[in-house]
């Protein structure tokens, strides 16, 4: 019990003194996860908007598939991206395996279905409300997608937040494609797993504290933004 207490104390010290190793890991984690969410937003938001606005054969099946992909197991994604980026794989020549870029790709693959599926649901609800008016204005489907993406911007933050939560907290995919290499691809979750297995609880706990704090802060920020948008009737 005393050992745990000491570990907590040391973890607290690492966080408050902005320990260099800990900071490096936190910064890389944020860079990787934010880049992955950015990439997922670039793909997922238009994809979600397209599925919400356009009507074409196979749309229903695509929506079901997208919803199912929200529950993709991270290790399976990690394995697929590994196969893609490994020397023998189709993108092996790029030499991306065990780099932060590989981790971004893996996390983006995980997060894109979440962003796209949540965006589709949000935009489809708004589309029902807007459709007649936009048709009267003579807006083409692409214009409708743009309009709805803009008008749903505050609601879509929730989709991006869900994606960020998934990205920053997952360990299976990044450990496979990143390799948890010290000072190169070591992020919070992989470090927590490694240091816990080594019995170095202080660093693991310190990173755990930071991870939880980031999750709470991100949620609070988005909630505050949405509340403010609601006050002005934009959400």
């Amino acid at each position: 019990m005393q050992e745990f207490g000491a570990a907590f104390g040391e973890a607290f010290r690492l966080v408050t003194t902005l320990d260099a190793d800990l900071s490096e890991i936190v910064i890389l984690s944020l860079q990787v996860s934010l880049a992955a969410v950015g990439l997922a937003a670039l793909i997922g938001l238009p994809l979600g908007a397209g599925l919400a606005v356009l009507r074409f054969p196979g749309r229903g099946a695509l929506v079901i598939t997208l919803n199912a992909l929200m529950g993709l197991p991270p290790v399976v994604v990690g394995l697929l991206v590994y196969l893609l980026l490994s020397r023998a794989g189709p993108l092996g020549e790029l030499g991306l395996l065990y780099t932060p870029t590989a981790m971004v790709i893996a996390q983006a693959v995980l997060v894109t279905p979440i962003v796209a599926a949540l965006a589709r649901q949000t935009i489809e609800d708004m589309h029902d409300e807007y459709l007649d008016q936009l048709r009267v204005f003579g807006i083409a489907p692409l214009g409708m997608m743009k309009t709805l993406l803009w008008d749903a911007r505050y609601s879509l933050l929730t989709a991006l937040l869900a994606g960020f939560g998934r990205a920053v907290a997952e360990v299976g995919a990044v450990i496979i494609v990143g390799g948890n290499i010290n000072h190169v691809t070591r992020v919070m979750t992989t470090t927590i797993a490694l240091e816990t297995s080594k019995g170095n609880l202080s660093l693991a706990l310190g990173l755990g504290l930071v991870l939880v704090t980031i999750a709470i802060a991100a949620n609070a920020a988005v909630m505050a933004l949405r509340a403010s948008a609601k006050r002005f009737a934009y959400a």
Partner: protein, 258 residues
């Protein structure tokens, strides 16, 4: 057969409007819509052309709103056809028809941005958009609310904004679906004044209502609908003085029309 009562207003203006318009005349012929074995529209013929204001009058469920939605191509008829300036409706000409819904839909943007959105979609440059938006907001006496989120406006203000937004692109024809039905008398009067202004500028107007007082105040011509059919069409004075159909007489005299 063309709707003579609706096509013969001031001939000079008619010719001028026809030359400039890309949607007039708006015609529908033998339009029918059937749902659940019930005819919501039954072989309806309408021709909207020229100038002036036509009121589509009738009890609830007569098919007034549905007819308007057919004319603006929001609903496709099961039978019959609709033509804008002699050709089938298409999206590119949709902005030439201003349409005001009973319950206005406000974009989640400011009052000004609601108007500039339409202008921008019509291809105007940003500077022109702002200038034109300022003009129509002044017409709707909303210029002092330009930066206010549109969804925070009162019902009457929202309806005025919707009207300003519809007028921003200077449509050839304005279709209004009971625009004042949920407003208090002062707000309804403000809308009526705006409609009068628009009509005075030569924009063809079609107003759906079941408010006889409003119809008397605004109508040049009247289409009376009952059970999905146009049962009477006449100039306003003649219609209100001597309605030909029993259902129209009952409606004007405040008796229940089933």
């Amino acid at each position: 057969m063309p709707d003579a009562a609706l096509c013969t207003e001031t001939d000079g203006l008619l010719e001028q409007a026809r030359r400039q318009s890309s949607v007039l005349p708006i015609e529908c012929r033998r339009v029918g819509i059937c749902r659940g074995g019930r005819a919501l529209l039954d072989s309806v013929d309408v021709c909207i052309d020229g100038t002036g204001l036509t009121v589509v009058l009738g009890p609830n469920g007569a098919g007034k709103t549905l007819l308007l939605r057919v004319l603006v191509n929001l609903v496709r008829p099961d039978s019959g056809w609709v033509r804008w300036a002699g050709t089938p409706p298409d999206r590119t000409r949709a902005p030439r028809i201003g349409f005001l819904f009973q319950k206005p839909m406000m974009l989640r943007r400011s009052v000004l941005a609601n108007v500039t959105y339409v202008l921008s979609a019509a291809g105007l440059a940003r500077r022109e958009c702002n200038a034109k938006a300022g003009e129509v907001l002044a017409l709707a006496t909303l210029e002092h609310l330009a930066q206010t989120p549109a969804r925070l406006l009162s019902g009457g203000e929202q309806q005025r904004l919707a009207l300003a937004r519809a007028l921003a692109v200077e449509p050839d024809v304005l279709l209004l679906d009971e625009p004042a039905s949920s407003l208090d008398p002062a707000a309804a009067l403000a809308i009526e004044k705006l409609i009068e202004t628009v009509r005075a500028r030569g924009t063809r107007c079609v107003l759906v209502t079941h408010d006889i007082g409003q119809a008397r105040r605004l109508a040049d011509t009247v289409l009376f609908m009952h059970r999905g059919r146009i049962v009477e069409r006449a100039r306003a004075q003649a219609f209100f003085d001597q309605p030909a159909e029993q259902s129209a007489r009952d409606f004007i005299e405040g008796r229940i029309v089933l």
